[in-house]
Symmetry: C2
Subunit: 337 residues, 2 copies
């Protein structure tokens, strides 16, 4: 089934079930007022949501047109957003850009950071930032939402805790990243509010593209209407979602509604860093990677980070070409108080 | 007024108003079901909670005995836990222990990390860890809960957003800290679930001890029943709470219910690192600091980190000697799944 949260003026929005083709939705708030409420009581609520989804497909319940622009992030605020960096190729390239070496352990020990989760942005809302000089960048990722996970869970058991799958634009401020990470406490100011796809789907909606740990489909990233990234999320994901969940739960439990991110999707090409889409490559899921490649090839980056007025679109389509999660589409705007 | 969350089997517990002397409480869930619900609608709800608190003091509403052991952390789960490290003396000492230099900018640019907030521990529950070898340590801190804070807020305006004050035991796994921070993404596994004081209080309950930015009272930390720390939270706090809030909100808004931590309270003594309580000093709010002093003085640390069976107690008393927030008291236990 596919679920979304409609903006209704409240902090957590209203839960709806969305049709498989994303054209219609039906109120599900009589089963669970909010997405978090559904996740808090998933075992009891999910079968009823699934039944409602079937009824929606058959046209046997009242429904209305689903507009992606009416959707908030599926969880407008969450109790945890733990973002991995599972495509180690991305880590290697971005560190290279910062002049930082990558220890070999990065290929065996998952990297994850604690993200801010109190104020996510709706998927069609602007990225509002005070200053272009902060180096505004997108990071297109796949994410999962888990149920309660006990401390010390193993990867095999962690598989069963995955409830929903989404996309995210994990906006990153590159000019702030370097100085902030040098302080040793991880990201804070350099990771402003993220936006998630209009729709969250149960893994079965992905069919063969879901193998229990990864999504084997290209992640489509467009900048200002032009293809920028088509990296396959099933390729070069060194740590799959169950591995990331187990890593996150080593010394503490995870509560239902915890969002786990894949990190920026990134593919190698013939064992080398990839090429732009325009040159026949899979392109990039963030601008920083393209800038590293340019620096390697040309001595300096030529693609600028996002400027006020630029638009990022992130989407994933099934093999028949239908959008699975709806599209994140955000324009960068100057923030004024 | 003083507020607490009673454990009732639900994820978020039940909101109660607690008497000033912490002996009695009255159900407040008819005004706001949970602490988060009160914070979500503070402007409207707080005056009613305050009126209820007055009635409780006068004995004009039904009340029951308040047992600190019945309390969960005031927010059993929160949308954000952003923990500063405002006592730069602590940072300097702990970095020394890791063999890491401290850049001078640490005295002017606040340090803050994004903590996990999905699964806090009740204040009288054990610290359950799988392995003593992880170097289990306490960190006693003061925290505030804020209302909605707009992006880009200044410190002066941030003052007005402080709604409640609490204590926290920010448990830290010292053996995991070094390797994890070296990876560059901050703490994750090395910061397991925190426990907050049984009671959260509005700043006016602190009287003269609250100056709008700091709490000028000693933070009492006992290990296995013996005084370990008596550092004054109003001394050597290089960045006060409004400064920490402004830092956290530079590139994103903070949502109501965000918890901001002071970092481990730490006092210098005559311009030098402090002395143990037993030697007439203010002692320490974490074991790591004492171990650094021992290493400096004796060549190696002699105080071990927490072992299974050890107990940590964290409390703060007003000038008349009455407990303000109730006590966090946690025994370390082996975690078995």
């Amino acid at each position: 089934m596919k679920l979304a949260t409609l903006k209704d003026g409240s902090r957590d929005g209203k839960l709806v079930v969305v049709s498989r083709d994303l054209t219609r939705c039906t109120d599900a708030s009589f089963l669970a007022r909010t997405m978090q409420a559904a996740l808090d009581d998933w075992t009891r609520v999910a079968p009823h949501l699934a039944a409602l989804a079937e009824s929606l497909e058959h046209g046997s319940v009242p429904s209305e047109r689903f507009h992606e622009s009416d959707a908030h992030s599926p969880l407008p605020r969450a109790y945890q957003w733990a973002d991995g960096s599972a495509y180690v190729n991305h880590v290697e390239l971005v560190r290279k850009a910062r002049g930082a070496d990558m220890p070999p352990s990065f290929w065996t020990d998952p990297l994850i950071y604690q993200g801010g989760s109190d104020a996510f942005v709706p998927p069609r809302d602007p990225i509002r930032m005070a200053d272009e000089a902060w180096g505004i960048d997108c990071e297109a990722e796949v994410t999962v939402i888990v149920d309660d996970v006990p401390m010390g869970v193993g990867a095999e058991e962690a598989k069963d805790a995955i409830r929903l799958v989404m996309l995210v634009n994990d906006v990153t401020l590159r000019a702030l990243t370097g100085p902030e990470l040098a302080k040793g406490f991880g990201f804070f100011q350099s990771k402003p509010s993220s936006a998630f796809s209009p729709v969250a789907v149960t893994p079965d909606e992905l069919g063969d593209a879901w193998d229990g740990g990864k999504v084997h489909l290209p992640l489509m990233v467009d900048l200002n209407g032009k293809p920028f990234g088509r990296a396959n999320a099933g390729i070069d994901m060194t740590f799959d979602f169950p591995a990331l969940i187990a890593h996150a739960a080593r010394s503490r439990p995870l509560s239902a509604g915890t969002i786990i991110g894949s990190g920026t999707v990134s593919n190698k090409m013939d064992g080398q860093p990839g090429k732009p889409v325009s040159e026949g490559g899979a392109g990039y899921s963030c601008i920083a990677e393209q800038r590293v490649i340019e620096t390697i090839q040309l001595g300096e980056p030529k693609t600028p980070f996002l400027r006020f007025g630029d638009t990022v679109r992130i989407e994933m389509k099934d093999k028949a070409g239908h959008s699975i999660f709806g599209a994140i589409e955000q324009t960068v705007e100057k923030y004024e108080r």
